[in-house]
Symmetry: C3
Subunit: 282 residues, 3 copies
């Protein structure tokens, strides 16, 4: 029976000026030539594990079941940090065990409390993880500086070619974990932060639609007060808030760049509460 | 019988820093995994529909018959603007009905006068257009902010997988249209404008080779006067003019950047007339 | 018998803002649709043949045997410079005959002295080269400005589709050649230069691991003195030196950008000698 075609995605901080990404793909082509290769992004800020984790968490579910996601933001390449294969019920993830898969792991608990302690989380129920320490599935010569090419790309390709995950290294139970950004509710106010500024300058927050107060809301970001939510980037006031394509609150400026105009970047606090004007009106 | 392999291209203003382009491709892979995915560019300036339309018009014919071109420069995503499938005799086009396909539509008239009125053009003779409003061919949940992922990518994938265009929405007769840049002849002078500055700083104009005056010409751009046309970027004077790879007049500086050195960008007027020096010589 | 799937790579100075790279791929898709297309990089600095040659030389061996590498950094497009097909024992190379394949050619001599004279090198033993001058394997209309689309892409695609190299043009014996960067030994000091600054700011030199003096070394770059080599980017002093993923000496700053902090770019001299402190200690 023909194997369904495999998809391997790549998310790195390697940029597109070097040939690093191309070399990873070359290694995959040598092992699993019928694989489709898709870039998520290679412009994660250098060594920004937390932002890489957020972007991976936002994008991986757009892919079909069985997709292998390779993520490499890896300042500690070559040290004792482990090379990881994480197998969920729908996807495989390959990369350094440094917290880059924290959003993915949280998703694995399906809303239940993540089992975590001291910077580690337990592999989610029904998932598996392996330490990619079997040299049969590495490149013949492994550098101390480029595991993307020498360990992660070949591991992903061998998976795509049908090697069972458990053949590729020893099982792991606890993974490095950094608590994903979460919004907090204090009385009738929800407080979250800007997790990512997209290329249009939209402020993508960590505040999920489900946490918004009922009724008309008032959003505050960078000194701007926004009354009510818009449905699109074109309706409502010029400085507007809406639920974006990640399912979280975004602040945007119509035909403008919210990050530049409001002077707001990643990490800035955004608050949502019931609209004071509406309250007064009632 | 095996279907010929489908090609889907992507042209957007999404940049390569976000995962938006990757997510669109993930959706395609889930529906039509055997499709080849090719990027035209994702660096159209944000929301610059006219420049996106020019770039699409310059590139789409390099692809084989049957290619599906997805173009998304879509400031009005989620509003009443329609989601469009345009089927020419050779290609399919998917994207917002906002003028992004104006160069393509003009080509459909094969040099005859485009049937246009009040910002609309009639679908070219022999072509078809459909409003992509059938939710069976959307993602199960459609956001108000990312139709690239939720409507256009799935539509392209379903086309690649063999769904007939007419199944995918209601027929449309008139499309949003913005007159493509055209050169104008006034006496013996042809006047056009810079439609695009390429990465080398070359000034790509809208003046087609066929409109140049006969004999030796004199080109004026940004105060520079160029006598005669070169055949390549290396012969002729340092500031030179030639017919570029789009078949239109380009102004270039040998081993330099014409846009920076001449201070000329998109929209600046370029003129061509019979060479005064040659005239005097005769 | 099914042909093994072909891989074509692309390395250019076309950037990702224009549609030039997409157009090359469109031409390939029209001729050899089952080919996998992989980008090495399109951000070679404009017309920087030497840096393009270095990057190609660093990346091409990551790909499987049979891969076709298309490289286009081509300031003299359309002039008398020849269009080249170079066939090694493992790969095919397609691009302008302007020195862009110099690192590849040097590799073909496997450490023996390259047969070179007056800016030319002889095709390495066992390899073949052809002048791509047969119009049957060009696009029907060839521009004077974009041979990437009109000559190189179709040549690569016809190769992928099975056309024998010798059908595609006349044999060539001598190729344009620029001596690759080499490190030099003077007494107990090895002197090389920075060949490339990568996206992390690491200074990638041309000094191969095999040329380092025995024992502990002392590296000097941009005024910084580094004692000893690190194994990874995280161990050793903050300003550190190591053998990078290309097998050559690199200078790096832990969690920083060596190029910016040391003010060192491409072409700057780096020296290595036995460590004076160790010498004194003995």
């Amino acid at each position: 029976m023909a194997m369904p075609k495999s998809v391997i995605t790549f998310l790195t901080d390697f940029g597109l000026t070097d040939t690093y990404v191309g070399e990873m793909k070359g290694v995959v082509m040598g092992i699993a030539p019928d694989t489709a290769l898709v870039d998520l992004t290679h412009n994660v800020p250098p060594q920004a594990i937390a932002e890489g984790a957020f972007l991976l968490g936002a994008a991986y579910t757009a892919f079909p079941k069985g997709t292998i996601h390779v993520a490499v933001v890896d300042p500690s390449v070559g040290t004792e940090r482990r090379a990881l294969l994480l197998v969920s019920t729908e996807y495989c993830f390959v990369g350094p065990d440094n917290g880059l898969f924290s959003y993915v792991i949280r998703d694995g608990y399906r809303g239940a409390r993540t089992q975590a302690r001291k910077g580690l989380a337990r592999v989610p129920p029904g998932w598996q993880a392996f330490h990619l320490n079997d040299p049969r599935y590495h490149r013949p010569s492994v550098s101390g500086t480029f595991h993307g090419r020498d360990i992660f790309a070949p591991a992903a390709a061998h998976l795509a070619a049908g090697v069972p995950p458990k053949e590729m290294g020893e099982p792991i139970e606890w993974l490095v974990y950094s608590q994903p950004l979460v919004a907090k509710r204090e009385g009738d106010t929800v407080r979250g932060e800007v997790a990512h500024v997209d290329c249009f300058g939209n402020l993508v927050t960590c505040i999920p639609e489900g946490m918004l107060p009922p009724g008309t809301v008032q959003v505050e970001a960078g000194g701007a007060i926004i009354h009510g939510l818009s449905r699109t980037y074109q309706d409502g006031p010029r400085v507007l808030a809406l639920i974006g394509s990640r399912g979280t609150l975004e602040v945007s400026i119509r035909d403008g760049n919210a990050s530049k105009e409001l002077g707001v970047g990643t990490g800035v606090i955004v608050t949502v509460k019931p609209d004071a004007r509406q309250q007064r009106a009632i």
